[in-house]
Symmetry: D2
Subunit: 140 residues, 4 copies
């Protein structure tokens, strides 16, 4: 199992007056990375929404080890660390070269766009992300 | 005619590594101010949308004279500088005390939420904002 | 012990195409609330920074129970749930009336602006926030 | 003269509840594009700042013709439409395929990081962007 890797360039607007990336922006980096994870397997989140499935963030947590700076080219490495019936957890780390800057995870629940109710993860999603599932959870 | 005045506190996330408010954020300040302008007259933009009317930004321009800093308590003064059949222009200045930091204007067009077509400004909107119309345009 | 309470109005820019507040923005709401918590006791975070003390976010976690919508007037209730030598944890809940929408906590570490090193929380900070410390931690 | 072209993928966080890109975010797209314009010629804005030169946005204007949507792959085409002694104007259009969505321009002034004073554009900057200067201004 290989983590999915995606590169993100820090923009000026991402920084704050400490001269580092404002902490909330890492959630945007995670969102971009999971979108690209799906796309890498031929699935767009846009198509998923069009098919009536929303993925809502229900939990997230982040640890900030070292700051990222303007114009850094960051690598976000992500695995699917839990794959449930109606939800999944994606664990990510943000790196600058060999240095680990931020680690975190985001739990997403599948929700019907029409009724707003929790629904099973659609097969096209589980198929797309299966190869990024961490071993201990691949049977879960 | 008195301009509408609204106070906005600069947050940490609004700043960038120059130690000033990132320029794009003034458009958010203008958006907040025009929402509060309507609310001051008993109209919420939310209700307008629920009634099927969207106000889309079709043009904006800003001049940046002096930077605003973290935790500044800014005053946004706004007037309706043009009131057309299907659009309006709101001109604003952002002040810190007597100092004028940013000036700008935003043109908004009324659009039907259903068909996405330009529609006349609804009477409840023009009534609400009439008192903030700059003299030269009050008859326009 | 009373939690600190602060009201925040959801702006248009805070929403995403699901029609709800984009999840990352709650971290901004928390930032605004802790700034106002300090200010309520006569301490500005700006003054703290000017005195050479940065408060860096080292950890955060959030649970999203129900979505907030555009123009909602939210209440953020916060307590200091841990007060250490060089760090503190602020636990918050975001409410809309009686409904609890989001809960979360943010851990902040005091860092010297000059050397970038962890330093003890300055007395003016611990004094300012002491009254918002949750009972079980007031002696910690 | 060829305009500089840069592609930008619309993120979920860029959208608002109208289901389109929130207007303020185009200023971020412009910022990203001009950074990449410089980088394409071997100059990083980061290096420019390290050398003591800030480029401050002093004016901007945008026209919104058609909305962009989540996950759209946009192309931002930019030219240097004015090149002065201490400032420059970059004119851009945001396209989705052949469709022109947004046009705009941003005026930037060179400022000394130390004294905060207007300074001449540094030669490494003018050299880097010269090839993107629109003909009528190349001699200006």
């Amino acid at each position: 199992m290989m983590p999915f890797s995606h590169q993100i360039r820090v923009t000026y607007g991402d920084t704050d007056q400490m001269g580092v990336v404002y902490h909330a922006n890492y959630l945007n980096y995670f969102e971009i990375s999971r979108t690209e994870m799906m796309r890498s397997q031929g699935l767009t989140y846009r198509a998923l929404e069009a098919a009536g499935v929303l993925l809502q963030v229900v939990h997230c947590e982040l640890d900030f080890h070292h700051p990222a700076h303007y114009d850094d080219l960051l690598e976000v490495r992500s695995v699917v660390s839990q794959l449930g019936k109606a939800s999944l957890v994606i664990s990510s780390e943000v790196r600058r070269g060999e240095e680990r800057l931020v680690t975190g995870k985001v739990k997403l629940a599948a929700v019907s766009r029409q009724q707003g109710r929790i629904i099973p993860l659609p097969p096209q999603l589980t198929d797309a992300i299966r190869q990024f599932c961490a071993p201990t959870n691949s049977g879960g």
